[in-house]
């Protein structure tokens, strides 16, 4: 019995302070990403989510250069980028070239910051920004990171109905008196908080995996908005836990004594969940729909 248990969970898992802290933070982050992700899918904004973390990475590497924690850089640049993208709104929405240029310039700046970081400090910093690692996360920041995530969820709950309505039809929402631009601006902040928190666990490159993956899985499983939120949060949490456990265990895998990155495992589990959901027959979604009776004569 204890042999099997040890096979799943390498010894010392819960005794390790970093691991327990990592579990707490990443569970909170997974829930936030999972819930916010459903709305990202409803609104078709996954590209914006990507752009937010790309720009966040520049902020994070800049923060390291200034000797601050990466999280401050992620969050400040994420919120700024969100405000910028939404503020410019339709002026950049269909401008592929402009968006591409701005993004690549920001990434270029990030490359410079990372280069300076690795010269000044150590080479692991760039790994930390791009691929994350929740094990080396400063526990003093835990309450702040969780508070930002919770604030995002409270805001999301307040926006819930107007956000759905303006996702379905901005014109209809506007006609009903919803301040559509404010709603999408505030949602941009919610999304920024979610992906930049997620970047701590998964790094800038993979943070959107936790935002989009669980939500994409959930919408394959149910057509109800409430259930999709529950499914998405559950998938995000389970993938994260499984990722942390595997990463901890991998210390005993070849090459011995190094451990594989958490972000790799989480990305794998998210993908597995999504693929599994694709094979679920569309039971809850399939609807019997006899053709409409033709009671109207076309002259």
């Amino acid at each position: 019995m204890s042999g099997t248990w040890h096979f799943i969970l390498a010894p010392g898992f819960f005794a390790n302070h970093e691991v327990v802290n990592a579990l707490w933070v990443s569970t909170a982050i997974a829930i936030v990403s999972g819930l916010v992700g459903v709305f990202v899918i409803v609104r078709g904004q996954s590209f914006a989510g990507h752009a937010l973390t790309d720009l966040g990475a520049t902020g994070a590497s800049g923060a390291v250069m200034l000797g601050a924690n990466v999280w401050y850089g992620f969050l400040s640049f994420g919120l700024l980028a969100g405000a910028g993208m939404e503020g410019l709104g339709s002026r950049i929405r269909n401008r592929d070239v402009a968006t591409g240029l701005v993004l690549s310039f920001a990434m270029g700046l990030g490359a410079l910051f990372l280069y300076i970081d690795t010269q000044q400090a150590n080479a692991t910093v760039s790994m930390l920004v791009l691929f994350g690692s929740v094990f080396v996360f400063n526990p003093a920041l835990t309450p702040l990171v969780i508070a930002v995530g919770m604030a995002a969820l409270v805001l999301l709950a307040i926006l819930y109905r107007p956000l759905l309505l303006s996702s379905v039809s901005p014109t209809l929402a506007e006609a009903r008196g919803v301040p559509v631009r404010w709603v999408s601006m505030l949602f941009m902040f919610v999304m920024a908080a979610a992906v930049e928190d997620g970047a701590l666990v998964l790094g800038a490159l993979l943070s959107t995996a936790l935002l989009i993956g669980p939500a994409a899985t959930a919408v394959r499983l149910t057509a109800r908005p409430g259930r999709a939120l529950v499914w998405s949060a559950a998938v995000a949490v389970i993938a994260t836990w499984a990722g942390i456990v595997c990463s901890y265990d991998s210390y005993y895998w070849p090459p011995y004594g190094r451990g594989w990155p958490v972000s790799f495992f989480i990305a794998v589990f998210v993908l597995l969940f999504y693929l599994a959901a694709r094979f679920v027959p569309e039971r809850s979604r399939a609807v019997e729909r006899p053709s409409l009776q033709q009671e109207v004569k076309v002259p």
Binding site: V38, I41, V42, G44, A157, I158, L159, Y160, R161, P162, L164, L165, V168, S169, T171, L172, A173, E174, A175, R176, G177, V178, A216, A218, V219, R220, T222, A223, R224, P225, R227, A228, R285, V287, E288, R289, P290, L292, Q294, E295, V296, K297, V298, P299
Partner: protein, 280 residues
């Protein structure tokens, strides 16, 4: 239909100008309870602008809109609005009944709390538009006509006095278009709701339309179809010669489309007019 009592919606001398450009000029329309009004005109004539004025989303340069005697207010529950179309991915987790439920409280902050009276209202609206069959299907997988029914149900839920529909037929095949028109007319008449339906092609509206508001050149003529849709009336409105043809119970306005055709050379004009006749 017989018109009783006071107009429920009144457009008085509405003008909209952007700088020197006149979009709408001196539009006067009286809408009575239960009336079905078609708002017809070529693209870019200002039909949607007029709807935005009625909805309070755009302040007119001059004039006033009154609803039951009082000036209209942006976001008023007494005006039901049906948008042109919705874009949702097939996997969007939103069922027909969720969309219809947004008609009750979609503009309110916070999450909806399920309760029996809310559910009953939604069921009743779904039934009224004959959408019960696909009420639990994901909205993104429904056809354009089915989505239109849900949008109409959504508009009914605030118990409006007037329902505005912005080109609800533009993405539908002819049969669905006739169905939607028939449905709107039935539901609205049974509830005494006045309907204003924007349409590019007036033919599907002919069986139910009480009054037509024909907009072109920023101006409008209002009245019964047989009084308004006539060559001399529309020619005056457009400012150049157009011809109204009645073919097999359909009406075709030749040369009236898109205004600019009238400025083309005669040979070009006949080519454009020929294309137009092919339209339903």
């Amino acid at each position: 239909m017989d018109v009783i009592g006071q107009p429920v919606l009144q457009l008085h001398q509405i003008s909209v100008r952007y700088g020197d450009r006149r979009i709408l000029e001196d539009i006067d329309v009286d809408v009575f309870p239960g009336e079905f009004i078609g708002l017809i005109g070529p693209n870019g004539a200002g039909k949607t602008t007029l709807l935005r004025v009625i909805l309070g989303m755009l302040a007119p340069s001059t004039g006033q809109v009154t609803l039951a005697g009082k000036p209209t207010r942006h976001g008023s529950q007494q005006i039901g609005y049906v948008p042109q179309k919705i874009h949702l991915e097939p996997d969007t987790p939103l069922r027909g009944r969720d969309l219809v439920g947004l008609g009750i409280d979609g503009h309110r902050w916070g999450m909806p709390l399920p309760n029996r009276s809310r559910r009953q209202k939604i069921d009743e609206a779904l039934c009224a538009v004959n959408a019960t069959r696909f009420a639990d299907a994901p909205v993104g997988r429904l056809s354009g006509g089915e989505q239109q029914r849900l949008l109409i149900a959504q508009a009914l839920l605030s118990d409006p006095k007037v329902m505005l529909l912005d080109e609800p037929l533009s993405n539908l095949d002819i049969r669905s278009a006739y169905e939607v028109v028939h449905l709107v007319s039935e539901v609205a008449k049974s509830r005494g709701i006045a309907v204003m339906m924007v349409a590019h092609d007036m033919n599907p509206l002919l069986p139910v339309m009480d009054k037509v508001v024909y907009i072109a050149n920023g101006k409008a003529v209002t009245g019964r179809v047989e009084d308004v849709i006539r060559s001399e009336v529309l020619s005056t409105l457009y400012g150049y010669e157009v011809e109204v043809l009645r073919v097999r119970n359909r009406i075709i306005v030749v040369g009236g489309e898109g205004g600019e055709y009238g400025l083309l050379e005669p040979s070009d004009r006949s080519r454009c007019a020929g294309e137009e006749v092919a339209a339903p």
